[in-house]
Symmetry: C2
Subunit: 178 residues, 2 copies
Amino acid sequence: MKKRSLPLSRVYRLLEPGPVVMVTTAKKGRANIMTMSWHTMMEFEPPLVGCVISNRNHSFASLKATKECVINIPTVKLAEQAVACGNTSGRSVDKFKAFGLTAVPAARVAAPLIDECYANLECRVADTRLVAKYNFFILEVLKAWIDPSQKNPRTIHHCGRGVFMVAGKTIALPSKMK
Amino acid sequence: MKKRSLPLSRVYRLLEPGPVVMVTTAKKGRANIMTMSWHTMMEFEPPLVGCVISNRNHSFASLKATKECVINIPTVKLAEQAVACGNTSGRSVDKFKAFGLTAVPAARVAAPLIDECYANLECRVADTRLVAKYNFFILEVLKAWIDPSQKNPRTIHHCGRGVFMVAGKTIALPSKMK
């Protein structure tokens, strides 16, 4: 075997996550945005999304208190804003204002949609059993929005240390998977 | 807002998951492979990976009984074999033999590595609290292997219904994220 051992500290860079998303929350009328990469689908319908939101994030307390958020999915055109939201804290910055993003009222939750994102998923917290140990929330998607004018949205995927993979071409293979 | 509502049944196609991986298990000397797309990193180090493995899969029982598996990461060159492993059941097929894949002994677990995959993560089950309700396992990576000869490995990402996104170019943006 021609393989070498890889330090465990670098494993996360292999399991390059799903698309970078921007999570909005709102508490006492004040909205915030955080950037998130560690999430997975857990059920098709109703859609359940599991995600890790560190308790070091300003959004953690809002999500825990309000049990609501919106997962906003940016394309590569918003990459700089997405990273900027990850590099700053809602404690001191109004990220909508600072990064020129538009808050639009959601239908089912108090947290706003980010209009510039090509898709938005309004969520409520469905299970908090793993929050204390892993900061892992299970969210149920209540309402989903998509911008039909954005064809072939090219999402970005964090590979660690500021390197992002941009979604490439698609291929089709006959699959029994849903 | 120019967005339209999206049926909740299609949400999973938006949150296009991390790389398609091939999970190997071994029970009573018999190894099996399953294809998996729903997983997320949960901790950097020791690396924790959360993943959904349906109880309809033959591998579910092996993983539950042995508490060990290997996450093997294929590139686009193995896309057909990865999909073929997802389209067949270990109940009736020896997938290593059927799809020309090479089993290599692992260092820390009984399940084999798939030699053709560019990286392999030897795992043990660390938490089963969410298995009964969500089929969600938390795995700890004990040992990781990488093939240094495969430069720019292009992973595949399932977008639903047999459509796979192939990892595209990478961009670098100054990020405080690890």
